[in-house]
């Protein structure tokens, strides 16, 4: 990316785009000359990223337009479930830069990253489960990362180019909510090395589905294959009387109806279980702690659906 002398103007086409320096918005911009003369075309780091990621067999994006529906929770549970098999190597990359939750959920709070000549080593929470997040780079837990888009893109690129994953069967990329810089960048950088697809997480209520519709539209525009939709926080069973209630009402039919409407697979529904939240707070694996809970059962089913969508053999758990 070219070195800019002033902030980008309102309708900046992006300093790396093909119209940089020549579009209408560039007129009068102090950066115009810089952008116009900067080298165009694909990012020079793309081959480095592609070769770095060539040892990863499957790359999955965990997306949702809505925040707090359980993207990180689902990512962690999926990672724990996949890594039950000791021969399966799993990695999690957390690209939620302003609100990284993965380290806490994986019980890797306060860990630091080691750098070596060959790159950054991820933090390993199990032999076959590595984690990478910006949280590991922050001096204090409470520090805010107040960054605009380009800086976030730079870090994502570094995560993709410099992290030494080694041989991986699955790389799960946990994303922030929305359809903006992080999503565009990760998709752009991964285009060449190939993403298997995206798993969309949603809550049952329409307010959440509304944003997931936007995410589906984004996937279509960006050319990302949608592996399916997972409905999280669906139904709550009272631990006292075992009566079920809908905390988040699926007045419009929930994720299932949306999946049917949009013609994408519905992967399953995970019920709301207060123990899931607690496991996340303490960084424990919910999968190991309560293997017989209904949430785990539905999770196993969901993983089965994901594996069959990817054309893989079902996993014995």
């Amino acid at each position: 990316m070219p070195e800019l002398v002033a902030p980008e103007p309102d309708h900046c086409p992006g300093p790396e785009s093909t119209t940089a320096g020549t579009s209408d918005a560039c007129a009068g911009c102090p950066n115009q000359q810089i952008c116009a003369t900067a080298p165009k075309g694909p990012d020079p780091d793309l081959p480095a990223i592609t070769s770095r990621l060539s040892t990863i067999h499957h790359k999955l994006l965990i997306l949702s337009g809505k925040g707090g529906v359980g993207k990180s929770t689902f990512t962690c549970m999926l990672a724990h479930a996949l890594s039950q098999d000791a021969d399966t190597q799993v990695g999690i990359m957390d690209i939620d830069i302003c609100g990284p939750s993965i380290p806490r959920m994986m019980g890797a709070q306060g860990e630091a990253i080691h750098t070596s000549a060959s790159g950054w080593s991820p933090v390993y929470v199990a032999d076959n489960l590595g984690v990478m997040s910006i949280q590991f780079l922050l001096p204090s837990e409470d520090d805010a990362v107040i960054w605009r888009g380009p800086k976030k893109n730079g870090l994502i690129k570094q995560f993709l180019r410099d992290v030494e994953w080694g041989e991986l069967d699955f790389l799960l990329v946990d994303t922030p909510p929305g359809t903006s810089d992080e999503h565009l960048s990760v998709n752009g950088y991964l285009k060449e090395s190939g993403v298997d697809g995206a798993v969309l997480v949603t809550g049952p209520q329409e307010v959440s589905l509304l944003d997931v519709r936007k995410e589906l539209d984004f996937c279509r525009k960006a050319g990302i294959r949608v592996i399916g939709i997972v409905e999280n926080m669906s139904g709550f069973v009272c631990p006292n009387c075992h009566g079920e209630s809908q905390i988040f009402h699926a007045t419009t039919g929930g994720a299932k109806a949306l999946a049917e409407e949009k013609g994408v697979p519905f992967l399953g529904a995970v019920p709301l279980d207060p123990r899931i939240g607690l496991s996340c707070d303490y960084g424990e694996s919910f999968f190991d702690a309560y293997p017989d809970s209904p949430a785990c059962e539905s999770l196993v089913e969901i993983i089965g659906s994901i594996r069959s969508e990817l054309g893989l053999e079902p996993l014995k758990i």
Binding site: P7, E8, D10, H11, C12, G65, K66, G67, G68, V69, I97, C98, G99, S101, R104, E141, D142, D143, A144, V145, I146, W147, R148, G149, K152, P176, P177, G178, T179, S180, D181, L184, Q205, E206, V207, S208, L210, D211, R213, K214, L216, D217, F218, K221, A222, F236, C238, P239, N240, C241, G243, S245, Q246, I247, F248, T251, P274, G277, C280, D281
Partner: protein
Amino acid sequence: MSLLPGVQHIILVLSGKGGVGKSSITTQLALSLSLSGHRVGVLDVDLTGPNIPRMFGVEAATVTQTPKGWKPVQVPGTNISCMSLGFLLRDRGDAVVWRGPKKTAMVRQFLTDTVWEGVEYLIVDTPPGTSDEHISLAEEMRRFLPSGAVIVTTPQAVATADVRKEINFCRKVGIDILGVVENMSGFVCPHCTECTDVFSSGGGEKMAEEFGVAFLGAVPIDPKFGLLIESQKQMQGEGTLEREYEKCGLCAVFKGITEKVMGIVEDKDKRIPV
């Protein structure tokens, strides 16, 4: 007093974490203020996930362009008018795939081009995080003298961890914190009235204490409120949202929170010479 034309007080609703109920809290603050006779404006700067139109049941409405600027959408039967990117989209499923500079431009345009008239409280709903929208909002807001921010969190540690970042953000950019609201604090089972802490409890209060900011109150999970929002289409007649909300258990909880917020805001704005 804020310096934004036509607006007396500006309150930001912030949270580092997504899905903790920023839009719900914004909606309920607005309804609660409107019920006590105040004129309220709601500005939704969540550009990639605008929920405010759905919350107020005005998804089909469009913004009118007047010679002076954009005229916000009036919520029927209430004293609330709102502005959101959702009103400008062709289809409700359309994604807004924008990078930073374009989002910044939109936030600026919302602030300068919307015509607020006689609004006592302008409540600004934000997306999660501490990035482009927030930096722009903080930069642009500075000259309008906002009263401060209401920070929303849920009780679990995963959420408060992100919200701590937001508090540090506010301190760095010089936005005053009015207080913390703990949302989704406990759920009363409709079958046996046993209260379960679905997302644990007390985390918000503890965090407020730690940072030395006011704790405004804890709001329990009430599926009735969610249902009320979701089923507005089926309801008939004007002002139903406000009237129905009055029957909701959360209305009483919010009355307390709103009074606290109003107290802090008025007290604060009195001390700033206009």
